[in-house]
C-alpha cells in the first residue's frame, strides 16, 4: 500500500520532466545493455568451448612438431621436420595406453569444381583420423587404408566446402581439382559448426596422407599426430609414454628441449575456457564502467532536482515530513529511474546479443541469472548514487527552504 503510493509519487515526479528523466535513464540503459550483451558473448564463448570439450572426448591427444616453449598455442606448427609417419606407427605399436593414431600433414589449397572455387585447408591423414576426431558422415564413406597405400586421389569434404562448391548437386563421385590435381569425392562430413575458438570446422578437405605428401605439399614429415587414449584416465599415462618414446626416437638428450609437443586436448580446452572466462570478466568490467557513469548521471540529476524543489521540500518538512520521509521520497525516485533504466537496458542487451549472433555468428548465451543480477545491480546503483542527494534533501532547514525562490 505504502509502496504503491510511493511508486506513483515517484513516477509522477519523474514525469514532470520527461526528457530529463529519459536522458538520465539512457546512461543506465546503455550500461546495463552493454553488460548483458558482453556477458552474453562471453558466456556463449564459454559454452561453445565446453561443448567442444564434450564433443572431442577427453581422451584426445595432439602431438605437434616444433617446440613450443613460448606459451603459445600453435607456434612452430610444421616448422620442424623431425616428426614422421614412422613415429606414428611406433606410437601405435609401443604405447599400450594408446587406442588409435593418425599422422597429419596439411596445406592450404584452392579447390575448383566446374565454375565454383573455394580456398580452404587440406588435411592429409589416415582413415583412423575420422574415428579419433569423432567425425560422422552425412554422405559417402571415408577413404581406406588401400587409398593411403596407393596414394589415391580421393577426398572427403566438409559441409561448408560442399555448400560452396557443389550447392545442390550430389558431390559423391564427382571430380574436383585441388590445385591442379583431380580428386574424386568419396565422402561428405556431417556438420560440426564452429569450434570454441571461432573457427569453422566444416571448412575442410581430408585426403590420404600419402597423396598429400607425395602429390600436394611434397613434405616427408608430419605436421602433427592425433592420438586417442584408451580412456580419459589413461590419457595422462599415454602423454608421458609418447613423450618418452619420441625423445628416444629423435635422440634428444637429457636437458634438451623436445622438438615436439604433446597436448592433452582436454587441458587445452580447459585453458581456452578459463581464458574465455577472463575475457567475459574483462568485457563485463569495461561495460560496468559505463554503468557507473550512468549512476553518476543519476546523482547529478537528483542533486539538480533537490535544488529545484527546495521550496517544496521546505513545505513538506513544515507539514510534518521527517528526515526519513524526505530521504525515502528522493531515493525512491532515483531507484525508479535506475530500475526502469535497468529493465529497458536488459531488453536492449538481449536485442544486441541477438543482433551479434545474427551478424557476427558468435554464440551468445543469456542466462536468467545475469538478468536477475542486472535488476539487482541497477537497483543498487539507484540506491548508491541517489543516497547523497536524498540525504541532502532531508537535511534542509525548513525555514531557509521556505524562503527559497
Amino acid at each position: 500500500m505504502d509502496f504503491r503510493a510511493t511508486l506513483k509519487i515517484a513516477l509522477r515526479a519523474l514525469a514532470r520532466n520527461k526528457m530529463r528523466s529519459m536522458l538520465t535513464m539512457l546512461g543506465i540503459i546503455i550500461g546495463v545493455g552493454a553488460v548483458i550483451a558482453m556477458v552474453g558473448v562471453g558466456q556463449g564463448a564459454q559454452q561453445a568451448v565446453q561443448t567442444q570439450i564434450a564433443s572431442m572426448g577427453s581422451n584426445l591427444l595432439m602431438i605437434q612438431s616444433g617446440s613450443v616453449n613460448r606459451g603459445g598455442l600453435m607456434m612452430g606448427w610444421g616448422q620442424t621436420k623431425t616428426l614422421v609417419e614412422d613415429d606414428a606407427k611406433a606410437i601405435a605399436r609401443e604405447v599400450p595406453a594408446v587406442a588409435a593414431v593418425a599422422g597429419q600433414s596439411g596445406s592450404s589449397g584452392q579447390v575448383v569444381y566446374e565454375n565454383q572455387n573455394w580456398a580452404t585447408r587440406v588435411n592429409g591423414t589416415e582413415p583412423s583420423f575420422f574415428t579419433i576426431r569423432s567425425w560422422q558422415f552425412s554422405a559417402g564413406a571415408p577413404f581406406t587404408e588401400q587409398d593411403v597405400a596407393q596414394a589415391s586421389n580421393v577426398a572427403v569434404i566438409g559441409e561448408t566446402v560442399r555448400q560452396n562448391l557443389f550447392g545442390a548437386t550430389d558431390p559423391i563421385g564427382q571430380t574436383m581439382r585441388i590445385g591442379n590435381l583431380p580428386f574424386q569425392v568419396v565422402g561428405v562430413l556431417a556438420a560440426k559448426g564452429q569450434s570454441g575458438m571461432g573457427q569453422d570446422q566444416d571448412d575442410t578437405i581430408v585426403v590420404p596422407l600419402s597423396t598429400m605428401q607425395k602429390k600436394i605439399n611434397g613434405q616427408t614429415w608430419l605436421g602433427s599426430i592425433v592420438v586417442s587414449a584408451v580412456s580419459q584416465q589413461a590419457s595422462y599415462a599415454a602423454q608421458q609414454q609418447i613423450s618418452a618414446l619420441l625423445r628416444d626416437r629423435h635422440r634428444i638428450r637429457q636437458g634438451q628441449d623436445d622438438d615436439f609437443m604433446v597436448r592433452n586436448l582436454a587441458d587445452m580446452a580447459q585453458l581456452a575456457d578459463s581464458s574465455a572466462q577472463v575475457m567475459t570478466m574483462l568485457l563485463a568490467s569495461i561495460a560496468g564502467v559505463s554503468l557507473i557513469v550512468g549512476g553518476i548521471g543519476i546523482m547529478n540529476i537528483m542533486l539538480v532536482s533537490v535544488t529545484e524543489r527546495t521550496r517544496e521540500i521546505g513545505i513538506r518538512i513544515a507539514i510534518g515530513a521527517t528526515e526519513h520521509d524526505v530521504q525515502w521520497q528522493f531515493l525512491s525516485e532515483s531507484v525508479v529511474l535506475s530500475v526502469l533504466g535497468g529493465a529497458v537496458g536488459i531488453a536492449f542487451g538481449v536485442a544486441t546479443s541477438l543482433i551479434i549472433t545474427k551478424t557476427l555468428g558468435w554464440a551468445v548465451l543469456i542466462s536468467p541469472m545475469a538478468i536477475v543480477a542486472a535488476v539487482f545491480f541497477s537497483m543498487g546503483i539507484g540506491i548508491f548514487f541517489g543516497f547523497y542527494p536524498a540525504r541532502k534533501a532531508s537535511r534542509l532547514d525548513p525555514i531557509e527552504a521556505l524562503r527559497f525562490e
Binding site: G320, D325, P398, L402
Partner: protein, 264 residues
C-alpha cells in the same frame, strides 16, 4: 514561575491543570542567530501564554522578532534559551522526529505565498499531511474531501493551483492545515497576497473556525486584519511591547456584506 519547593507530585498536578488551559506557554524565550562575525539577538526574553480557543494577532515591523517567534511556535526552530511548552509538553526536549510529528498533528500552517505543490491537485495538496501521518488511503481521501468541503471548495478537488484564484488557493492551504485536526492554526501573513475583499473572506473563515474552538495565531502587519482577532500582541526589538484584547471586534461576515463587490 519558579517554585522553591519541588515535590514532583504537586508540579505534575499543576502541569495537568495548566494543560487544560494554556495551549502555548512561552517562558523567557531568547533566540540568538550566529551570522559569522555578528550575533543577532532576535528574541530578548519573550514570555507569552495562549489559552485554548484564543484568536491572537501578532504584529510588528521587520526585525521585531515576530517571524522568529512564529517559527519557534511552529516548532520549525528551537529557542536558544527559555522554555516553550505546547499542550503541556516541553518542546525543547523533543527529537527532530517528535517535532515533525507535532507539526503534522498538533499544528496547521498557512503561509502568505500559499505554498501549495504546483503540479498536484487541490485534493492531493490537502492530502499531503495525512500521508505523513501514515493514514490509510480511504481515510486520507475522506479527510481531505471533508476539509475541502469545509472551506467551500468541494467542487474543485481536481483543480490544479494554477486553475484557482488566490483566495481559492489560500482556502486549499487552510484545508490542508486542518486535515489532521490540529489544535492550533498558525498563519503567517495569510492575506498578504490577496485583495481586500478576498482578505476579509479568509478572515471570515478564520473567525468561523475560531468559533468552533480552534486556537488561531496570526501574524500580520495590517491593523485592519488584526482587528478580526480577539487579542493583539505587538513585538518590537525582540520583545513584546503591547498585549491587549481587541475592543469592538468586527464580524468579518458583516464587513463582507457592507463591502463593495469587485464589479462596483
Amino acid at each position: 514561575m519558579a517554585t522553591t519547593l519541588n515535590p514532583e507530585f504537586e508540579e505534575l498536578e499543576e502541569l495537568n491543570e495548566r494543560a487544560l488551559d494554556a495551549v502555548i506557554r512561552v517562558e523567557d524565550a531568547h533566540k540568538y542567530y550566529d551570522l559569522g562575525e555578528t550575533k543577532v539577538h532576535a528574541l530578548r526574553g519573550v514570555s507569552l501564554d495562549i489559552q485554548r480557543g484564543e484568536f491572537v494577532a501578532i504584529m510588528g515591523s521587520s526585525g521585531s522578532g515576530k517571524s522568529t517567534f512564529m517559527n519557534m511556535m511552529g516548532c520549525l526552530d528551537k529557542a536558544t534559551a527559555g522554555k516553550y511548552s505546547l499542550n503541556g509538553t516541553d518542546v525543547s526536549k523533543l527529537s527532530k522526529n517528535e517535532l515533525a510529528a507535532i507539526r503534522n498533528r498538533e499544528l496547521g500552517f498557512v503561509f502568505q505565498g500559499f505554498n501549495l505543490l504546483s503540479r498536484t491537485t487541490a485534493l492531493e495538496n490537502v492530502e499531503l499531511p495525512t500521508l505523513y501521518a501514515k493514514l490509510a488511503r480511504e481515510e486520507r481521501v475522506g479527510r481531505a474531501q471533508k476539509a475541502l468541503e469545509l472551506v467551500g471548495l468541494g467542487d474543485r478537488m481536481d483543480h490544479f493551483p494554477s486553475q484557482l484564484s488566490g483566495g481559492q488557493q489560500q482556502r486549499v492551504a487552510i484545508a490542508r492545515a486542518l486535515v489532521n485536526k490540529p489544535s492550533i492554526l498558525l498563519a503567517d501573513e495569510p492575506t498578504g497576497n490577496l485583495d481586500s475583499r478576498t482578505s476579509v473572506e479568509i478572515m471570515q473563515i478564520f473567525q468561523e473556525l475560531n468559533e468552533q474552538g480552534l486556537t488561531i495565531i496570526l501574524v500580520t502587519h495590517e491593523l485592519d486584519i488584526a482587528q478580526f482577532a480577539k487579542r493583539v500582541v505587538v513585538f518590537r526589538d525582540g520583545k513584546i511591547r503591547r498585549d491587549e484584547p481587541v475592543l469592538s471586534r468586527p464580524s468579518a461576515s458583516e464587513v463582507l456584506m457592507k463591502m463593495p463587490t469587485l464589479e462596483d
